[in-house]
Symmetry: C2
Subunit: 205 residues, 2 copies
């Protein structure tokens, strides 16, 4: 398959594909001559994945590259991979600009009895959200978050349940990534609809 075929079958322009190649999102094709290279179904699949992550979820090109690199490196290690996706990716070490709420997040995690890495970026996200909401006068603390966390546990069970029975580790890793990242807007959309419904119910009384 040449670049024009790849373009036609993916709906992505040749210049954009070249851009992705330059940016290292897409691995180079197999060179058959000085000005010719062969691409295969892996490339097509990767290209669709790129468009899904940048389009649906709005990941930046550089974040997408990190996620895809991690996918390749940790293909056998679904457990590690699950900690890597989303905007809060930061595969390497992060600055960790500690919010004062970090301790409260730790207490929450302890109360939940969760076994999660101390360095998980999601912890910082939680602390930052708590801090921001409080500065705006919204009273939230770990007791507010606890019931949400219990629901998150059940969500995670559903997520992991969907990976059962996938033998190929690369495929399992890729599916984990897709379910984690691409399902996010869908879950938020469901929440929005549920809020509307719940609001209607309450006003009906």
């Amino acid at each position: 398959m040449r670049i024009s075929d790849l373009s036609r079958r993916s709906g992505v322009s040749v210049t954009t594909i070249k851009y992705y190649l330059r940016e290292g999102l897409l691995p180079p094709g197999r060179q058959t001559a000085a000005t010719q290279a062969e691409y295969d179904d892996q490339h097509l699949r990767r290209l669709r994945l790129i468009r899904a992550l940048t389009g649906v979820r709005g990941l930046s090109v550089s974040t997408t590259r990190e996620v895809l690199d991690a996918l390749g490196e940790h293909a056998g290690d679904t457990h590690t991979l699950l900690g890597l996706a989303l905007g809060s990716v930061r595969v390497g070490e992060e600055p960790a600009g500690d919010a004062p709420e970090a301790g409260e997040v730790r207490a929450l995690v302890e109360e939940l009895g969760w076994d999660v890495h101390e360095s998980a970026p999601a912890r910082a996200t939680l602390a930052e959200t708590l801090s921001t909401l409080r500065s705006l006068g919204v009273p939230v603390d770990r007791h507010t978050l606890l019931p949400y966390a219990r629901l998150a546990e059940r969500t995670a069970e559903l997520d992991l349940g969907q990976l059962d029975g996938i033998a190929d580790p690369l495929e399992a890793a890729e599916r984990a990534l897709l379910l984690t990242v691409l399902l996010e807007p869908a879950l938020m959309a469901l929440r929005r609809l549920a809020q509307e419904n719940e609001s209607a119910r309450r006003h009906a009384n």
Copy 2:
């Protein structure tokens, strides 16, 4: 309060405040002379809100403006307001580029017994996600989403429960907005941590 005080107390530079004024994110101050205007605590509050929406949640300036406008217009109408936030805002009419999955989303909503607007943008988000995941070979349908939706119902109950006992309608509207939009990254962070925990549990067996 003059613009420099507003800047100092909010941590936002004077030039950026001027930019927000120009863009209509921040209402103009009360003019006291040709080159002087007074700002008050409302402006400070609004400014903090702007930074929270654009910073934490990453909303664009134009989306933020739409959300804030909606906040003012529908202050008394929390029910309507709840349908407006997030990246999928689109307060006005949207193009509605129907995915073929729209019918499936309708069936799901019906099965759930939810009372939600036919035009809710979250429906399109769901349909688009289904479509994208399928094109990548992930088998998802409304039966997959149903248990997630049940959890979303319980999340929405928690959300709405936090608005109880707020008398002032503008305040209730603002809090609804904050909880809907700013809690999103936190909920996704909880899900990530829960996934990690669940993954660890399963591997321990």
